[in-house]
Amino acid sequence: MYINAASTISHQPTFRNAGFSELIEPLDNSSELISPNYKEYIDAGLLRRMSKILRMSVAAAKDCLTQAETAQPGAIIVGTGLGCLQDTEKFLNTFLSIEGLLPPTSFIQSTHNTIAGQISLSIGNHGYNMTHTQNTLSFEHALIDTSLLLGEGKDNIITGAADEFIAFLDEAAEHLNASSKHHLTSGASFFILGKNKTEKSVARVKDVRTAGLIQDIDAAIDSFLLDNFLNISEVDLVLYSDFSEKEKMDSVAHQYFNEHYHADSKLINYTKLSGLYPTNSAFAMHYAVDRIQREPKLKNVLILNGLNKINLGLTLIESLEA
């Protein structure tokens, strides 16, 4: 499938900023979400009621439609690891502390599919509308669904992923001893994916695979590369994510690719760039596209998502010249 548009709102200057991959540095812990002027994308009345995740997602999806010069996508597919946390927390607070009649807005907007639903509402789209929520693999599952739909004859699909940070997450992580060196962040990345190469195409998603409750990581990477007729040395760039990140040698990516790559520049931990949220592999996909557009020598970029050690996501992005 071909990537015909890409848009990301994150803690980095990614939005409507082609070439951002050359500019950005690893995030420090004081970074904040860089929000566009949402009024340019969302009706003021709707915007007032929208949480962060909804604003990011609708704006990024609409930006994709503008880039691809598409009025209506064939479908809308969203991945989200934790869904609409801001409204979920708000409604928990509401019903646990107020007696009697409760305001319904935060309940209505707490369901995971509010994101895809609000995109369809904002553009009047009646197509297939789906929401995948498999924690760190939610975006990869959205991509797999997209490839099924393209196989069924649908085209020009908006596919993306989003997660939002709320302050409670830092507290929870601390109590669960899950604190990481990485900064917990928010992000939304959306794409237009099509069956055929068009003048808007910037790169291609050659293959995507998930392995839940994985037993043998090396074997999974082996067979993924084999099925795509690639030697390890033909992978020009590996974008990886490991939650633990204690020592380099511990990481899935380094263990697998260490013998072949002696240049650190070929192995990039994208969580350092995006911050930590469950669907940050979607950020990595946009980053890959942006790099490919600027560096003709990059033919094959592998996104190796090991953010949750029991699950593995593999996505192969190919340049149009490959």
Binding site: I76, G81, L82, G83, F91, L92, N93, T94, F95, L96, S97, L101, L102, P103, P104, F107, I108, Q109, S110, T111, H112, N113, T114, A116, G117, Q118, S120, L121, I123, G124, N125, H126, G127, Y128, N129, M130, T131, H132, T133, Q134, N135, T136, L137, S138, H141, I144, D145, L148, G151, E152, A172, L176, T210, A211, G212, L213, I214, Q215, P278, I310
Partner: protein
């Protein structure tokens, strides 16, 4: 198109197994009653699974905690549907569950303690996310690889079934266990009450006097197999899943369009995918929540598609309550049973047709019916509309 359905599993307010659910359906025994198991100050009418968490843990022989009630219900149904099937390298097996609340049953207890500064147990937050709900079930069944969760509110269960069928149709998997699970929570009860669509009496789908829904809880799973998989497993085919579709209403975040736009598209497209005609549908297991808005919109959609030839139809939600993400899966099991046993289930609590449409559902159990194809509707928040078509194996 068609994939085979070779296993069924269910746990709901009307029984812990397929056999118990069937018995209740045949004897018009509703499972809706005042709250008993959920920690709630109120006595709202709900369709609870008649087991405490401790009883479920014992029944399922689960030692590892914390675990959400959503996972426990899901595991009960998934185990029954999986039955005695074995893992074999010849067959690529997947698992797709649907949930709208995930581990909210544990999270809301945590959050109450958190607000009260009453020594909250942060460890339960590990089972909050919907994906974890699914992974717990998959791990117990020994399924690895394609493990996924869908969350599209009240249509989630139907969407999980549809996604499984599509993965088999495109040769990505050989067999896949599909369904949904949701535990009853104060979060959802309060949510639907805030929308003022929670009935304090028994819900009355398709009745002029209807004023809302009763929430329920439960889970159901179905084993879908390709021809190759059924040949290797030797499992007999109960019926086929032959049509599926999802469409967005794009009308309102919670309300359905009065013209039933998205619902009409979902029904029409699902029948088209099945290769059948509207006249072939023997029975419609309606979404029929009992809210003013849904039942009118769904009735209009049925008239749009079927015209003067509306098939026998009923909502089984007066038996189970509205089980949200599990509803599409529970009703898929009921649809399969309708075909397998030649039954059409009654729409309990019905008296007076809706004035605008005049449609009358089936109100008494119909036995020995030639049920060759069943349409099952699931319509959710965000205008997420899905329809499935089940048919006899020919």
């Amino acid at each position: 198109m068609a994939v085979r359905i070779t296993g069924l599993g269910i746990i709901s307010a009307i029984g812990l197994t397929v056999a118990e659910n069937l018995f209740s359906l045949e004897n018009s025994r509703s499972g809706i009653a005042p709250v008993k198991y959920l920690d709630s100050k109120n006595d709202f009418l709900v369709g609870e699974v008649k087991c405490s968490n401790a009883e479920l843990l014992g029944y399922l022989n689960i030692k590892s905690q914390p675990v959400s009630r959503t996972s426990l219900l899901g595991l009960a149904a998934a185990r029954e549907a999986w039955g005695r099937n074995r893992h074999t390298p010849e067959l690529r097996t997947g698992f797709i569950s649907a949930t709208s609340v995930g581990g909210m049953d544990t999270t809301e207890r945590f959050y109450k303690d958190y607000l009260d500064q009453n020594n909250p147990d942060y460890a339960v937050l590990r089972c909050h996310d919907s994906g974890n709900t699914t992974e717990r079930i998959a791990a117990e069944l020994g399924i690895t690889g394609y493990i996924n969760t869908l969350s599209t509110a009240c249509s989630s269960g139907a969407n999980a079934i549809m996604l499984g069928a599509r993965l088999i149709e495109q040769g990505k998997l050989d067999r896949v266990l599909v369904g949904g699970t949701d535990a009853l929570t104060n979060f959802t009860i309060n949510g639907f009450r805030s929308l003022m669509i929670y009935d304090d009496q028994w819900c009355r789908p398709f009745d002029e006097s209807r004023t809302g829904l009763n929430l329920g809880e439960g889970a159901a799973f179905l084993l879908l197999e390709s021809d190759k998989s059924a040949r290797i497993s030797g499992n007999p085919t109960i019926c086929c899943l032959s049509g599926w579709a999802n469409a967005a209403d794009a009308y309102h975040q919670t309300a359905s369009s009065p013209e039933g736009t998205g619902a009409t598209m979902a029904i029409q497209n699902a029948i088209e995918v099945s290769g059948l005609s509207a006249l072939d549908i023997s029975y419609v297991n309606a979404h029929g929540t009992g809210t003013k808005n849904n039942d009118l919109s769904e009735s209009t959609a049925m008239i749009n598609v079927f015209g003067d030839n509306i098939p026998d139809f009923s909502s089984t939600k007066p038996f189970t309550g509205h089980t949200l993400a599990a509803a599409g899966a529970i009703e898929a099991v009921f649809s399969a049973l309708a075909i397998q046993k030649g039954l059409i289930f009654p729409n309990l609590n019905f008296n007076t047709p809706i004035a605008e449409t005049g449609l009358v559902p089936i109100t008494e159990l119909q036995k020995d019916q030639p049920v060759v194809a069943v349409l099952s509707n699931s319509f959710g928040f965000g205008g997420n509309n899905s329809s499935l078509v089940f048919s006899v194996n020919r």
